[in-house]
Amino acid sequence: MPEPVADRPYEPVIGLEIHVQLATRTKMFCGCALSFGEEPNTRTCPVCLGHPGVLPTVNAQAVHFALMIGLALGCEIAPRSLFHRKNYFYPDLPKGYQISQYDVPLARNGALGDVRIHRVHLEEDAAKLVHAGASGRIHGAAGSVVDFNRGGTPLVEIVTEPDLRSAAEASEWLRLLRATLRRMGVSDVNMEEGSLRCDANVSIRPAGEATLGTKAELKNMNSFRFLQRGIDAEIARQEQVVRGGGTVTQETLHFDPVTGDISSLRSKEEAHDYRYFPEPDLVPLAPTEAMLSRADDALPELPAARAERLERDLELAPETARLLAFRGELGDFFEAAVAAANGGGDGAVAGPRALASWVTVELVPRLGDTEPTESPVTPEALAKLAGMVSAKAVSQSAAKQVLDVMAIDGGDPEALIVERGLGMAAADELGAIVDGAIEQNAAAVEQIRSGNEKAIGAIVGAVMRETKGRADGGEVQRMIRQRLTVDG
């Protein structure tokens, strides 16, 4: 790296390594069902416990999912990829080696968005160590126990090229990846539960330099927030080192989300020699044409493409389109509502932009953690409600009251409006209320007449209060102006 210049800006260079637990029925190399919080060591067999004499056999569904991922990320699929043994001793690794892929991975050279994918490979997860004692880590623990339920869970590792330039970018891109994987149904992609894990390789270099600086690897940040905080902290640390005249050393780091501290796990000198060699118990993985086309056929429309389509065809705002595309179920709900609105026959219907707003701005906050698809509100009902607003059969604010009820108890919006008397106030009723409001707001009337248009709000507000929102704001304004003009 060239001489640091005090004021010269540094540019972070970030690459990500993501581990994805596949949502297969069984483990990577044996027939044990995957575990979801069962009693420890109840999802095990001689194979995943590494008993003498056992042999691995490859899970076809895991291969299928991995091929889907490779294709979705636009990768080249290797005609014959190899499994290797990665050797090291640790109590969570029953065989003393992890079966992984090394120099010939299943897929390579792809891209998602503007980040290039270096490689995608299959491997098995380690078991889970639980350390008794204050530190929660193995050193200094009073004792440790192993739960082998997780051991052997299929993992796909995705490695990006160092194409990211900020923590925010990294976090944003990881959201796209997560949405993509979720859309494919290949993983639960839950960072807190560890079905999606992310390590970051971080380096800095003077802005504009082409050569890469020495990288540090930041391990296992288990949320988007921690990922962003961790990378930011590491960038700051490296800048401080370099500006202080030091050099960054290649090491593996642990980010403590509680304290924000970064501590070294091991340096390059302490790095393991994993003694990789081809796994003699398995034959090369050679996907057939049939396997490839089955994986290709199984790919749904992916979030990036969906966002583009929603923006282009339905004219949604880019942020709204991304929100709906990245949360696949939300997007599905929205598109069902659009379909219901279009198939709703005569009468005014809500357009896609209005429906998107009803879904994202109104419905989502009312549901809390519940996905719209699991809520009592059906896409058809929401489309009907939005359509009634467009047709001015119900006011915007009354419709929101109706949605409050629907979000808890469901129901048909039209029936609810009738039942609760929330329909638009009839013309004669509204006329009387407007007359009353003008009478009671002489000061505002005065201001309007002397040219202060904004004062009309006070009268509109009064009408709305009186009608409990059952009036259209624009219509009320029109009526007030009409009356004041006539009177004046």
């Binding site: 004499g53 056992v54 109590p91 003694r275 060699f277």
Partner: protein, 475 residues
């Protein structure tokens, strides 16, 4: 059963016993009890564990209930399975090896577990943590290894037949030293599931029997693809029992690399006699070059230890078997493995770990793999000219106990002629070719992948002509 009747039953080959059982003249249970009693009183050190009673054998089982000695390298549910190692002392597997299961289902119930070199590493059975095995021909001598217990048991009439494993000669060499038949099948012909692994790309399970017909019969019921072993393959057809009595038109190739320098004169004498016998039976023997086989042993002692170094990592004291240390993780690993493994196993773990180390991988592992490919190509070229390759099985007859224990290289040389076939993944049989100074000499016949029927047929014809009648236990 009267003494003479029992003697007679014990003298039957397994195939003959199967026939007698099928004819209702003998029962599998009777035979089991006879062998169980003999094995219970043996003092060769051949058995490490004996079944109390015969497992139930279906009445129509093709192997009739003729009991089987099983090398301790096979996992059998609930039965001590140590692979000859202290580190697996007391270990009782929760499952049974496919080969053992298939043979039991075919009617060969397990008689007991036989002694072996620790983790199948050795050529004399002296590396067993549970003591050596004496050769029934001369109790001062080794039975060979690593399947020394199985070979000695069959040679001494303690079992009608046995299974062992062969990684670089571990079935053929002890068969040779004990004067019996040993077959190493084509790699992939028999499932490795449940065989405690030494070197996964080389390990194969094979029969050790009194004659060639028994080997064919046992082999017939071992083969086949196993969903638990991705490297196993369907056998092309049912293995026929051999019938050949002549060798007319069969072409044999004798490679100078494996039939000259380094072979004991007495062994060469028997070998040359067999060569003549082949010609008398109508076969042709020509010299055929296998130029790279001279490097077989060197390549083998890189590849096999490399795989072993990983295969044996699981013995860490965490989940099963022996455990030592003061409770600290590093001490658990170090003490367990220091106390649990014997010297030869440690030597090979070190060799293999070194060969796979970063910076050395290409020079050792990579190069050894290329040698392996060359050897396979040598054989492929040879089998365009000849049907079978003919060599002595081992350069020497059974050596004295303790004679080679302090010199690993001389021990390794015992498998000099057997290792090339293992590296090439091809089948090879060892049959007794005669005696040298009163000790058996084995002759090896090797053929292309899945040519076991051809090998067995030729071996059958040769066996009849040689007329070897070594039954040291009946002398």
């Amino acid at each position: 059963m009267a003494a003479r009747a029992s003697d007679e039953a014990l003298s039957l080959t397994a195939a003959a016993a199967v026939e007698r059982i099928a004819a209702g003249e003998l029962s599998g249970a009777e035979l089991f009890d006879l062998y169980r009693e003999r094995a219970g009183n043996e003092d060769l050190g051949a058995f490490l564990w004996l079944s109390e009673a015969a497992a139930d054998v279906p009445a129509d089982a093709p192997l009739g209930g003729v009991p089987l000695a099983v090398k301790d390298v096979f996992c059998v549910e609930g039965v001590p399975s140590t692979a000859g190692s202290r580190i697996l002392h007391g270990y009782r597997p929760p499952y049974t090896a496919t080969a053992v299961e298939r043979l039991a289902a075919a009617g060969a119930p397990m008689l007991g577990k036989t002694n072996m070199d620790e983790f199948a590493m050795g050529s004399s059975n002296e590396n067993s943590a549970y003591g050596p095995v004496a050769n029934p021909w001369d109790r001062e001598r080794v039975p060979g290894g690593s399947s020394g217990g199985s070979a000695a048991a069959v040679a001494a009439g303690l079992a009608p037949w046995a299974i062992g494993t062969d990684t670089g000669g571990s079935v053929r060499q002890p068969a040779s030293l004990c004067g019996i038949v040993g077959l190493k099948p084509t790699y992939g012909a028999v499932s490795r599931y449940g065989m405690i692994a030494f070197a996964s790309s080389l390990d194969q399970c094979g029969p050790l029997t009194r004659d060639v017909t028994d080997a064919a019969l046992l082999f017939r019921h071992m083969v086949g693809c196993d969903p638990c072993d991705s490297t196993s393959l369907d056998y092309p057809a049912e293995v026929p029992l051999p019938t050949a009595e002549r060798l007319d038109g069969v072409r044999f190739g004798a490679p100078p690399e494996l039939t000259g320098e380094g072979i004991e004169p007495g062994v060469l004498e028997v070998f040359n006699r067999v060569r003549t016998t082949i010609e008398e039976l109508g076969g042709e023997v020509e010299d055929i070059a296998l130029p790279h086989t001279a490097h077989g042993l060197a390549a083998y002692y890189v590849l096999a230890p490399a795989e072993a170094s990983a295969n044996l990592s699981r013995y860490d004291g965490v989940r099963y078997g022996m455990r030592a240390g003061d409770g600290d993780l590093l001490s658990l690993y170090e003490e367990t493995r220091a106390e649990g493994f014997g010297d030869e196993v440690k030597r090979r773990i070190m060799l293999g770990t070194y060969a796979l180390s970063s910076g050395y991988y290409e020079a050792y592992y990579g190069r050894a793999q290329r040698v392996r490919t060359k050897i396979a190509e040598d054989f492929r070229a040879a089998f365009e000219r000849v049907d079978l390759v003919l060599t002595p099985t081992s350069p020497s007859v059974a050596f004295r106990l303790g004679e080679r224990t302090s010199d690993p290289l001389s021990m390794y040389l015992s498998d000099y002629c057997a290792v090339p076939m293992s590296l090439a993944g091809i089948p090879a049989i060892s049959i007794p070719g005669g005696l040298s100074d009163g000790l058996p000499v084995g002759i090896q016949l090797a053929g292309p992948a899945f040519s076991e029927p051809r090998i067995l047929d030729a071996a059958h014809a040769l066996e009849r002509a040689v007329g070897f009648t070594g039954e040291p236990w009946r002398a």
